[in-house]
Point group: C2
Chain length 226, copies 2
């Protein structure tokens, strides 16, 4: 129980996260529906990050390998993935949900957000995980192409939402270990609906300005997470 | 028709905008339901910004004084104000809507966004203005206390949403004339719903981090609005 599992880690965001966490010295387990594809993705990380301890496994297997599990799947697949993790996740674990309910999930535009009955993808996740597992929401404003580009440097903020400050601080410690990412306490889990809206907003900004934008908050104190 | 009208300019955001635009050399007309209160607010600007050409007027009168009208009222008052402006606004004018549908409008929390039937306060405004008046959405992420503090310096971005790039560029030229504000083309008017969500998100970040945060986009090209 001491690695960082990334369920859906073969996608661009998850793979980029594995790359960055591997480089930062964390043992990582990339999860995929197909354990073979997970191992291929892990091998690709090891190639780009010498000495990184990154393995591959089936999603459910991966999810048992550490206390803080990242979920980096498209919204279309979030519900199915969480159903498949019901037997794997155990009380005390934190699930870090990076899902964005883009209208692209139903063949709509990536600049539009779907309404989620629970309020946000993160709150849908909280409804679906086993009792005792808590959901923290993060990583929505980090560009997947940038994160997964081994040569790209980062310099942006990562808003973190969740019910307990301690849970958020544990997730922040992991994300903050990646050079160029500054985790920011953005509020309760319900605030995830506003943060999930950053993704289609950034996609809209990207289209108009031909870039992969991230966000930064101005006016924050030097020392966060006190 | 050559001043910048600010309807609801006696509130903190509108007054701060009048102060900053006055300092930047623009003639400004602060509008209020009560012309006397508008003139008082204008006098207060002139006191803080020597030589500034800032006048006060009733809202409907103010709205006739320039081609680009700023609307800086609480969501609770947006609909009433637009009804009162129906006779004053004329085709070809741009209405810059800075309204945020915070749940505070119905005595809820300022960290929560209300659902607006049209999708956003900006789209509600577009539905209510006379034919030929176009709505551009802006200024949601600028902290009113910071903007209205004569001694505070600014350093942040202002996402601008609207249907026509030319309209957005005209509004951007005004906002960009304020030192420390960088206008960013954030997309079509419907994107305003995501930008309006920045306000409750920033309020949530402010509560956790005891500040008045703004936002900046990372990775933007040097030259915007080409």
């Amino acid at each position: 129980m001491d690695a960082i599992p990334i369920v859906g880690g073969t996608g661009a965001l998850g793979w980029g996260l594995a790359l960055r966490l591997g480089r930062a010295g964390h043992p990582v387990v990339i999860g995929s529906r197909d354990a073979g594809r997970a191992e291929e993705a892990a091998a690709k990380v090891r190639e780009k990050a010498e000495g990184a301890d990154v393995q591959g496994a089936g999603n459910a297997d991966a999810a048992t390998r550490g206390p803080i599990v990242f979920l980096t799947v498209p919204f279309r697949a979030q519900s199915e993935n969480l159903t498949n993790l019901k037997e794997a996740l155990t009380p005390g674990q934190i699930l870090v949900d990076a899902t964005v309910p883009l209208a692209a999930a139903v063949s709509g535009k990536a600049t539009r957000l779907l309404g989620v009955p629970q309020g946000s993808a993160a709150e849908q996740a909280q409804e679906m995980v086993p009792e005792g597992v808590t959901v923290v929401s993060a990583l929505h404003s980090v560009s997947a192409p940038t994160l997964s580009d081994p040569d790209a440097s980062l310099d942006e903020d990562v808003p973190i939402c969740g019910q307990k400050k301690d849970d958020k601080a544990r997730v922040a410690a992991i994300i903050g270990s990646i050079p160029g990412l500054r985790p920011v306490n953005a509020g309760a889990l319900e605030t995830a609906r506003l943060v999930e809206g950053l993704t289609p907003l950034l996609i809209s900004v990207n289209i108009r300005n031909k870039t992969h934008a991230g966000i930064k908050f101005t006016g924050l104190p030097e020392e966060l997470w006190r």
